[in-house]
Symmetry: C2
Subunit: 200 residues, 2 copies
Amino acid sequence: MTDDLAELESASRRLADSVRRLIDATIRTQVDAAALVEVSHAIDFATEELSAAMMPSSFGVQATEDGRPMAWGNVMIGLRNAVAPPLVVNRGSDSAVWSDFALGAAYEGPPGLVHGGVCAMVLDHVLGATAHEPGRAAFTGTLRIRFLRGTPLGELRAQAHVDRVEGAKTFAVGHLADARGVTVEADGVFIHPREQTPGG
Amino acid sequence: MTDDLAELESASRRLADSVRRLIDATIRTQVDAAALVEVSHAIDFATEELSAAMMPSSFGVQATEDGRPMAWGNVMIGLRNAVAPPLVVNRGSDSAVWSDFALGAAYEGPPGLVHGGVCAMVLDHVLGATAHEPGRAAFTGTLRIRFLRGTPLGELRAQAHVDRVEGAKTFAVGHLADARGVTVEADGVFIHPREQTPGG
């Protein structure tokens, strides 16, 4: 990685972290309406600064000079995307993958609990990661989710492994867990397309 | 609604909209590292202003003086949550529900496409909405998602209806579509718990 790219990556990470804290504060603040409007003006000014030079569409997957793919805008792993927790997916020696992460107020559904849809989103990504290969993304074919109990906001782990492979199809199973154990189970079929098609 | 609450709601909505535009610009900007760091400082300052008075945990579901529930922090519908598109769920005369919304760069998975996990998240919420009643939330029991093709970023509709009800269980079906037609299908079982349990 060139020094310039390393510097840009570090500054991008710092900015996304700042925006994550802002999202959390926007939800939880108890300051009055006048103060909220004042902060809105400051945010709009910051957005204008960033808009001085913008790519015309979404980030996509860009390549570094040495061909490394950068998915900086990805909603689950993108280091520039403040919506992403972001997930860091670890890979074991076999097909196992796992990710430890924390979900705060921005991911809430029922009071104190992670929204069921967020659980599904994380599991889609982590199960799909068992099938991803560098430069050869896998797309979700089907996904089944079983909710065993509520998932509390806080520290969580998602993990998955390959159950079997049939041609272009990878069958993966996994779960989401808190310190007390499994909260949500999932299985899914992930497909390596000949060309780009469906949606994971 | 009291004037004070209406004013707070309006200012909250404005701030979350500003933060959404900031999230998008953070992903798509092409300004240099020094400018990113400068903007980070401005964001941190704004977060400090909001942190002058903060609720100790997540927003949860708070009640207005007249007993109306406010899920302002909800990751899918919360008007204070910049992660939420936010969805506005419409209800037909029968069990049908639908939501028209746009997903931008912050929801990307494969280049130009909505992340499959985001599709699952939206469908969980919209199918679940068929079973929700005021003051009586339904939790996701199981959810099955079938991806037919990639879902492009942009204008989308999610819709769902009740297939049948068996005791505390509501069986819902639905889909996500773009202007060309259905991209993702889903069915799920949603449960009205006696007490608070699982996770939608």
